[in-house]
């Protein structure tokens, strides 16, 4: 079996920047579009009176969206090249869909942000970049689209990239790249464009195929949130007691000394089991079962880590929250359900410090509430201690969701800045 790597992308752009066309183009040029899908969109294009096959229709989902003619939810697309399998979270760019972009960015390795070459960097572009940096997407590629409409001008492209760079300097983007494209014509999407000889970089597909993502994982800090306790109660495995979970970060090996939180009991890893046999080594990302040498009382929500590298433990947490509900607002003093790793508890909003103007990055002090799509800094107090790291060090143990206890809806997404005083 060849070792194809799994890479997660998030795409965003303002309405009409050409995002759907770009995605359609990537799927089409990498031969992921099937004849029947093509026929269906040809027919739909004809019905709507467009005179070319609208590749954007390939990624248009639900009926409501078709009626309104815009994408209103995160949709997932899949395509593969011989080296990589891509999961693409297609997120709409309008400000009223900030929550969708945050959703798409939460798991992304690479963010593709589109701009229209005729319009350059807009307020929306800055917002998209801010969200990608906030959510710690490790790589951002700014795709300057519709180059065919600006005569493939290098000057236009350079001005846009300069403009974006100076804004991005205020953000925390680990790896920033640029590519001039025409999604409609196909320039620099899969094949290198003949119309822009001045561009010496790679086409978009090659960029996303070669960006190194394996090292973005945190392989240093061993964090294993216990998900489920496995006790077979069978003759064969009479005394078996294993802790199932997905390794959030770090690497685990049999023989490792470990400490279990919150109890603080120490033990040693006896074995790391899977259906396919025990492992000598298990890195972040794998779902395994850990057995310990000692019988300790451990349950779901506990964390197995190393004695000399522990997460922070606390009930007072400083966090940036994106509000995702149109039914209720985040208010200081309100209580929510919180889910962090495999642990569920309740959280009280002690304080709402400020809200971001997500386009200018200005802080708006004295914001009374957070509304749908607003992002702000809060202090939370939880009913039980959480075992957490700063989000910028660990996307798994630094993230949480807030749940409305009346409706059970997910209403907020939080990233942890650190312990609150």
């Amino acid at each position: 079996m060849e070792h194809t790597e799994l890479v997660r992308l998030a795409t965003t752009g303002s309405v009409d920047d050409g995002k759907s066309t770009l995605i359609g183009r990537m799927l089409y040029d990498t031969k992921q579009i099937f004849v029947d899908q093509l026929e269906a969109i040809e027919e739909a294009s004809k019905r709507r009176g467009t005179d070319y096959v609208d590749l954007a229709l390939l990624t248009d989902g639900l009926r409501a969206e078709r009626e309104q003619g815009i994408t209103i939810d995160v949709a997932y697309r899949y395509f593969a090249t011989p080296k990589r399998k891509f999961i693409l979270a297609d997120t709409p760019g309008h400000i009223q869909y900030t929550r969708n972009m945050v959703t798409g960015a939460s798991t992304a390795d690479i963010a593709l942000v589109l701009v229209d070459a005729r319009l350059g960097v807009l307020e929306q572009t800055r917002r998209h970049a801010f969200i990608a940096s906030l959510l710690r997407v490790p790589h951002l590629v700014l795709c300057v689209n519709k180059m065919d409409l600006v005569d493939y001008s290098q000057k236009v492209y350079d001005d846009i990239t300069d403009d974006f760079r100076s804004f991005a300097a205020r953000l925390d983007i680990a790896d920033l790249r640029f590519v001039p494209v025409s999604a409609l014509v196909g320039d620099n999407v899969v094949d290198k464009s003949m119309s822009m000889p001045w561009y010496t970089g790679s086409p978009l597909l090659e960029i996303i195929e070669t960006i190194h993502v394996a090292s973005d994982r945190n392989l240093i800090d061993a964090r294993f949130p216990v998900q489920y306790v496995i006790r077979p109660h069978t003759m064969e495995h009479h005394d078996y007691r294993g802790y199932a979970g997905q390794i959030a970060s770090g690497v685990y090996r049999p023989g490792d000394d470990v400490i279990v939180l919150p109890s603080g009991f120490e033990s040693t890893i006896a074995s790391i089991d899977t259906f396919d046999g025990p492992l000598e080594e298990a890195p972040a990302g794998l779902s395994v079962v850990i057995r310990l040498e000692d019988h300790i009382d451990i349950s779901r929500g506990d964390m197995i880590c190393r004695p000399h590298n522990q997460p922070q433990v606390g009930q007072d947490i400083d966090a940036i929250v994106t509000w995702m509900s149109d039914a209720v607002k985040l208010r200081p003093g309100a209580k929510y359900g919180i889910k962090h790793t495999t642990k569920s508890a309740r959280a009280l909003v002690r304080d709402l410090h400020y809200r971001f103007d997500v386009s200018t990055l200005h802080r708006i002090e004295d914001a009374p509430t957070l509304d749908l799509n607003e992002i702000g800094r809060v202090t939370l107090r939880t009913t039980a201690p959480l075992f957490f790291d700063e989000y910028r060090k660990n996307r798994q143990t630094g993230s949480f969701i807030l749940i409305d206890e009346d409706t059970n809806n997910t209403v907020g997404a939080g990233i942890i800045g650190g312990a609150a005083l």
Binding site: M1, I401, T410
Partner: protein, 304 residues
């Protein structure tokens, strides 16, 4: 001992994600159940579920919504798989629903029991008070599925509301629900048809024989080769002939089409799938061709 490198292959990554989802759902559910049709996606799902709890036994039953129009090979496979695992099988029967007058059989040439599955499915969920129902749907199958959550909330009527889905971030899933409501959980959402076949090949997962090339009596309708059976009414001009075929998906005999193929091993199927230019559903599902939004409409009512 197998040695794991720090670089994880895409199949390992998908497997780990699916196992995480299954454990997460079970940890937070009171009465989970896994939908098992005997098709390749549900065979994959079942394998992942077994892996998730190994060495313990599967901590929940499996359920089949039996239309009564299944391929006999698939039913035999279903029964053999379930008994080998020692799992409990619940059968929700469309035929019984028809006999009891709860649903009405369609008539005519394109009659299908597809939509009729909704009633017995929701009834069985309610009767057994299942609160998590695992399904083997994949997002790459169909447009409406592309936007559905991994943990997909269903109200007390089993309805899906595409406009009001819970945001789903990182690998944090919200399984909360009240009595009478349930969650459909789709652990293989992110797998493509190709991933499924690669994994089935790598793991040596058994499948019903209809997935592999065989000869059978068929007739042609709308470009699909339909198996000749008691469950489908032929038109006068639809002549039966013998062909070497296989099925790309396995649903009802009345609405699942075959296509000419000589692929008789997983390797040959992978080669065929990589060369094909037609989607799985387009190649085999008569029911999804009826309307652009056929799947979305069914899903809103509580379909898989």
């Amino acid at each position: 001992m197998p040695i794991v490198s720090y670089q994880i292959s895409h199949l390992d990554a998908l497997e780990a994600e699916s196992i995480h989802i299954i454990r997460e759902a079970v940890a937070e559910a009171e009465r989970p159940v896994l939908l098992f049709s005997g098709g390749k996606d549900s065979a994959l799902l079942l394998r992942l579920a077994v892996k998730a709890f190994y060495p313990a036994r599967l901590p929940f039953p499996v359920m089949h919504v039996d239309t009564g129009h299944n391929f006999p090979e698939v039913i035999a496979f279903r029964d053999a798989t379930v008994s080998e695992l020692g799992a409990d099988l619940i059968v929700a029967s469309v035929q019984v629903a028809i006999d009891e007058g709860r649903v009405t059989e369609q008539s005519g040439v394109n009659a299908s029991r597809n939509r009729l599955q909704i009633e017995p499915l929701l009834r069985a969920i309610a009767e057994n008070r299942f609160d998590v129902v695992f399904g083997g749907a994949r997002r790459d199958e169909e447009k409406a599925r592309a936007k559905e959550r991994v943990f997909s909330f269903r109200d007390e009527f089993g309805q899906w509301d595409p406009k009001n889905q819970r945001p789903e971030l990182w690998s944090l899933y919200n399984g909360r629900h009240r009595n009478g409501e349930h969650l459909r959980v789709f652990p293989i959402s992110n797998w493509t048809e190709m991933d499924v076949w690669q994994y089935i090949g790598a793991e040596g997962i058994e499948l019903p024989s209809v997935y592999f090339s065989h000869t059978r009596l068929v007739f042609e309708r709308d470009g699909l080769l339909m198996a000749d059976s008691d469950y489908i009414t032929r038109l006068d001009n639809e002549e039966v002939f013998e062909a070497t075929v296989r099925f790309r998906t396995v649903g009802d005999m009345s609405c699942t089409g075959a296509f000419a193929s000589t692929a008789s091993t997983v390797e040959e199927i992978i080669a065929e799938v990589s060369a094909t230019r037609i989607t799985e559903r387009g190649a085999s599902r008569a029911d999804d061709r009826t309307a652009e939004a056929a799947m979305e409409d069914r899903k809103r009512e509580g379909y898989f």
